[in-house]
């Protein structure tokens, strides 16, 4: 009995005939050109009719985003499992860090309470209207597709959860962007560094109003600045509230550098390792009235 068998290289694979041939098979080249012309002309015609193009675009967005959500789900679960395992291993250290953070926050609250009281008193004396309070809605990030041109997130909430276009999206560090497109169960968040993003901002130290324009990189620039000479590197940039999408005073970033008349801003919010985002929406007048009456009753 031989232990080793002589290696026989496999012969060339034979081309198998199509077991389900169609009548059109011999004319496939001509049909392909016709199909190409049909799709090209049909698509071009569709592009010039927004009434047809927009619903199709929305339908495709919803379908593709849902498909990606399903595709990403096992990877997301694996990531969550690994993260949970890491947290469990480092539970003791994490607990100690949280206790310390809690203490720091309590100290900060003690400083902030008198300031808030003072602010309220001054507002009353000067007859300054109180800004409309904003509510938060939390949504999970489904994915952040990236092709080097567009910067956006897909989030697992849509019109069924009460989201509408142009709502501000933030995280605890600062502003992330705004909602650009809304589906039934999914929405697209346009980030601040996308080329299409424009956000009205102001510098905190020099009070210069400007527009934060995304440039397709990690450093968006300030454009339409009132007086560029007054802006200094390291200055904080916050939302100005102009336009009504973003409430005033939300932290955006810091002036990173001013080179060749271009003011680059380093964003505060880190897009890495983000899992959840907060969507701001102004409380409706009826809701505020309801809260007020409830408080009065109590």
């Amino acid at each position: 009995m031989s232990v080793f068998r002589r290696y026989k290289p496999p012969g060339p694979l034979k081309r198998k005939a199509n077991p389900y041939p169609t009548r059109t098979y011999p004319f496939r080249q001509k049909i392909s050109i016709l199909v190409f012309a049909f799709f090209l002309l049909g698509g071009a015609a569709l592009r010039f009719y927004p009434s047809l193009y927009n619903p199709l675009s929305s339908f495709l967005f919803e379908g593709t985003a849902s498909f990606q959500r399903i595709f990403i789900y096992p990877f997301q679960q694996a990531h969550t499992f690994l993260k949970d395992s890491y947290t469990f291993i480092n539970l003791k250290n994490e607990h100690a860090a949280l206790v310390q953070e809690n203490k720091d926050l309590k100290w900060k609250l003690q400083v902030l309470h008198p300031l808030q009281h003072e602010n309220n008193v001054l507002r009353q004396q000067l007859n300054v209207s109180t800004p409309r309070p904003y509510m938060h809605r939390v949504a999970r990030i489904v994915s952040s597709p990236y092709d080097g041109i567009h910067y956006f997130f897909l989030i697992a909430a849509g019109s069924d959860q009460g989201l509408t276009k142009d709502q501000a999206v933030v995280d605890p560090d600062g502003v992330l962007g705004r909602i650009e497109k809304v589906g039934h169960h999914v929405a697209r968040v346009l980030l601040l560094n996308d080329v299409n993003s424009r956000v009205p901002v102001m510098t905190e130290g020099s009070h210069q109003k400007a527009i934060l324009a995304g440039e397709g990189n990690f450093f968006p620039t300030l454009v339409y600045v009132t007086d560029i000479q007054k802006i200094k590197p390291g200055e904080k940039v916050v939302t100005s509230g102009v336009g009504g999408i973003f409430p005033p005073g939300l932290p955006v970033g810091y002036i990173n550098d001013i080179t060749g008349g271009k003011i680059h801003v380093r964003l505060l919010a880190s897009y890495k390792n983000l899992e959840w985002v907060h969507i701001l929406h102004p409380q409706s007048a009826s809701f505020l009235q309801e809260v007020q009456t409830n408080l009065e009753e109590q």
Partner: protein, 156 residues
């Protein structure tokens, strides 16, 4: 049996969709993997098995890519369909040559595709980094696809 036959014939399209879905979340720093990453299976199937990658399927693949990537609808569809039409004329010259020749042809094809895509979308030079990734990853992805190809060939 016909269902299995159709499923196996749909594998090329499915593999391209998987590359789009998976590649959309891959990037090293600011350098993205797409669009050149999904051109690898597209090119492979156009050259080696065009009968299972019909022209109309590339139209829908392009629509899917554009709607996922926030691009102008139909741009990728047109580019992919043009790739298919050109591929039909070029493949007889490519197939008898060595792997390195086919790899070089992919480098040229993906460079033209990404340049056109970046030109129409108004992209930054970052898009061109995806071309480098695509060319570097081509042998590994092709090895995976050829394994799949041989298995499909046994049945279909």
């Amino acid at each position: 049996m016909k269902f299995l036959f159709l499923t196996l014939r749909g594998l090329p399209v499915f593999s391209i969709i998987c590359f789009i879905m998976g590649g959309s979340c891959l990037h090293i720093g600011q350098a993205p993997f797409l669009p050149a990453f999904y051109l690898i299976p597209t090119y492979y199937w156009i050259i080696f098995r065009p009968q299972d990658l019909p022209l109309w399927s590339l139209f829908f693949v392009g629509l899917l890519y554009d709607s996922l990537m926030k691009g102008e609808l139909l741009l990728s569809s047109i580019l992919l369909m043009l790739s298919w039409v050109f591929g039909q004329h070029i493949r007889p010259f490519l197939i008898p040559h060595s792997f390195f020749f086919i790899w070089g042809a992919f480098a040229i094809y993906s460079l033209v595709y990404t340049s056109l895509y970046a030109l129409f979308v108004g992209g930054t030079p970052l898009v061109m980094l995806s071309w480098i990734y695509g060319v570097l990853l081509y042998p590994f992805i092709t090895w995976l696809l050829s394994s799949l190809h041989l298995r499909v060939r046994l049945y279909v």
